[in-house]
């Protein structure tokens, strides 16, 4: 190792450090087949950082699956370089590489002649784990994916429904606790209801396991729902847009992306944007346990702002109840019937709640139940307009140009 670095080498060190932070890195990767004219993947450069959930999406034949399979070398790239944790994937024998990467496919591909337990144990066995460690891991994983171990351990794949089989598929991929998970249309083969619940459960699972995930799907809505970042492949295997779902939904890069998103763009945007992403309205509050005069003073000051109610908070700023003036000249309380959590609630959920709420006004609290502000339909509308694109009216959203 040279100790005195030339400027060139020093800058290489800089990129080296940057590279460490990204777990998977594709550099100028191309794939073309001899008999086909155009490349299926054309000079793709993409960096995926640790714990990130990236969805590759686009029309069929756009190269998204090919890209995924090049990461675990089921397909060898024609040119370019793929790095995992800074190491070229070609450095390892391909089976060693794959043992360290979870892989889930659309048709699950469970081994029909093995029990569920043996299917899940496939990778630990390849890695030569001790028997009791493997057994413990099988039970842990089966409960993790929502299958009762004592009930399912000794069953055979043919005894499972499609959804259950894919749960086992996920468990098998996670068996050796790989840091990276590659998923190729994993939820495409099950019915819509099962798909939604699998997606929800998978998101919850990902909250706790925090894997770096590359997820291929042709379903835009699924990509938007699940991923932290979406890569949209366009015609001629070019990347049409890369960005967080909200970015893509609020500002499609071009007509192609807009047409891929379709007319449901605004509704999808509602599902992606969370309350933490929008500005909340403030509302008059008072502490609990104050006397009648203070309550009435607070109410009259609220009325001057055009608000007929005041929210009462406890010491920890937790909302307790509303008060409003009644006919006796005192205040009476009524309960907070619509309370939303800041981090988890999407605008879509918020709208549903508010529509059923008698006051067109939901109280927003953080994870500790502390009051953060209120949101109503007007506020949602106000925060949505800039997101949906400046100058966009409902008529032009999602319409192809």
């Amino acid at each position: 190792m040279a100790l005195d670095l030339s400027p060139q080498e020093a800058s290489n060190m800089g990129t080296e450090l940057q590279r460490r932070r990204s777990v998977i890195e594709l550099r100028d990767v191309s794939k073309h087949y001899k008999d086909a004219g155009a490349p299926i993947v054309d000079r793709l450069t993409l960096s995926i950082s640790e714990g990130e959930f990236v969805a590759l999406t686009g029309p069929s034949g756009c190269g998204k699956t090919t890209t995924l399979k090049m990461i675990n070398r089921l397909i060898e790239p024609s040119s370019g370089q793929i790095l995992i944790n800074g190491q070229d994937v070609g450095d390892l024998p391909s089976h060693r590489l794959r043992q360290g990467i979870g892989y889930v496919i659309q048709n699950v591909g469970l081994f029909p002649h093995m029990t569920i337990a043996d299917n899940v144990a496939a990778v630990p066995r390849l890695l030569g784990w001790k028997k009791d460690r493997t057994t413990a891991r099988i039970d842990e994983l089966l409960s993790m994916v929502g299958l009762e171990p004592s009930k399912y351990r000794d069953r055979f794949p043919r005894e499972l429904s499609g959804g259950q089989a894919q749960r086992v598929g996920v468990a098998r991929a996670l068996a050796a606790d790989p840091p990276i998970l590659l998923m190729d249309e994993p939820f495409a083969a099950v019915d819509p209801i099962t798909r939604t619940s699998l997606q929800d459960e998978f998101l919850r699972l990902q909250q706790s396991i925090r894997k770096t995930i590359v997820f291929v799907t042709h379903d835009m809505a699924e990509a938007m729902r699940l991923a932290d970042r979406v890569v949209i492949f366009g015609p001629q295997s070019k990347i049409a847009q890369v960005g967080a779902p909200t970015e893509v939904l609020s500002a499609p890069a071009d007509a192609f992306v807009a047409s891929m998103l379709g007319s449901g763009r605004l509704v999808q945007l509602l599902s992606c944007v969370r309350l933490r992403d929008v500005s909340l309205d403030m509302w008059p509050t008072i502490a609990e346990g104050l006397g009648r005069d203070e309550r009435l003073a607070a109410l009259s000051s609220a009325q001057r702002q055009g608000k007929d109610r005041v929210l009462v908070l406890d010491d920890a700023k937790r909302p307790l109840y509303w008060i409003h003036s009644d006919t006796t000249g005192d205040s009476s309380k009524f309960e907070v019937d619509c309370k939303l959590e800041l981090e988890a609630t999407s605008l879509r959920d918020a709208i549903t709640q508010i529509v059923y709420c008698p006051h067109d006004c939901a109280v927003v609290v953080d994870g500790n139940e502390a009051f953060q502000g209120i949101i109503n339909l007007k506020g949602i509308r106000r925060s949505l307009i800039p997101l949906a694109g400046a100058g966009t009216t409902a008529a032009t959203i999602g319409v192809e140009k």
Binding site: L74, I105, G109, H113, L126, F156, E159, G169, R172
Partner: protein, 272 residues
């Protein structure tokens, strides 16, 4: 003699059909399948014992002379039976090893051309009439049991080869992709996934080969290869109906018994 192979093929066709329908409803299907299996396992030996009983009854009620007796001594029958068994088992074992190995090689990724050539050759081997094959082999290699075994191998390699190739190529591609994707090496996939899953189809081929051999082994007598066929040729030569009947019935019973044994082995080996 040629009646046997074709009737056995019909057996297999029905086996394969019910095998493939076993994927969906679990409980009812497996129960039905089990009763069917038990039927096969128990009915066949009972039937064969009955036929042997009838043969013995026939031989006891028919007046036999000394020539008849000489051919029907238990020691004669026993040694012919063992010769027949040797011819069948050795040729079938070699065929199985050879054809399964060849089938594996032909289903590896870069062998589609070789596949068509080898299959064409194997088809040629089976298309040739077995008597002709025996005599041709004797002309080249001389008479004797060894030559008979070579002829049997050429004659019966096709079903095992074809079924090995079909069994391996017919596997669900998703299973193989998953196996590769989780990091199994090609040899691990072959031994741990492909072969176990292809066993039912391969065993059906082996069964056909054994049935072909057990029938064709009766022709070994023409090139001095021994076997139960000797009884029939002797019976024809000395013009004695009881000997011909006994020889024919024994060849048939032996073939059906072998088929039954192979079926049981196949059931034991196939995935649950």
């Amino acid at each position: 003699m040629t009646v046997f192979p074709s009737s056995i093929d019909v057996f297999q066709a029905t086996d394969a059909a019910s095998e493939s329908s076993d994927f969906e409803p679990i409980k009812a299907g497996s129960r039905r399948r089990r009763t069917r299996r038990i039927g096969h396992f128990v009915f066949r030996p009972l039937m064969l014992i009955l036929i042997l009983g009838l043969l013995i009854l026939y031989l006891h009620t028919t007046p036999l002379d000394s020539i008849d007796h000489r051919s029907l001594y238990w020691s004669t029958i026993r040694s012919e039976l063992f010769q027949q068994l040797d011819l069948t088992l050795i040729s079938s074992a070699v065929v199985t090893a050879l054809a399964v190995l060849l089938g594996i090689l032909l289903t590896r990724r870069k062998a589609p051309v070789a596949n068509s050539i080898v299959t064409a050759l194997a088809t040629l081997g089976q298309a040739a009439p077995p008597v002709g094959l025996m005599i041709l082999a004797a002309l080249v290699l001389g008479v004797g049991a060894r030559t008979a075994i070579y002829a049997l191998i050429i004659y019966s390699i096709l079903p095992v080869l074809r079924n090995t190739v079909t069994g391996l190529n017919g596997l669900d591609k998703a299973i193989l992709e998953a196996a590769r994707g989780i990091g199994m090496r090609p040899i691990q996939i072959l031994v741990g996934v492909e072969l176990p899953l292809a066993v039912p189809v391969i065993m059906a081929g082996v069964r056909t080969a054994i049935i072909l051999n057990v029938g064709t082994a009766a022709l070994a007598t023409f090139i001095n290869g021994g076997g139960l066929g000797t009884m029939i040729t002797t019976g024809i030569a000395v013009d004695r109906t009881p000997i011909i009947v006994a020889g024919s019935v024994l060849v048939a019973v032996f073939a059906l018994a072998m088929d039954w044994a192979v079926m049981i082995v196949g059931e034991l080996l196939s995935p649950s």
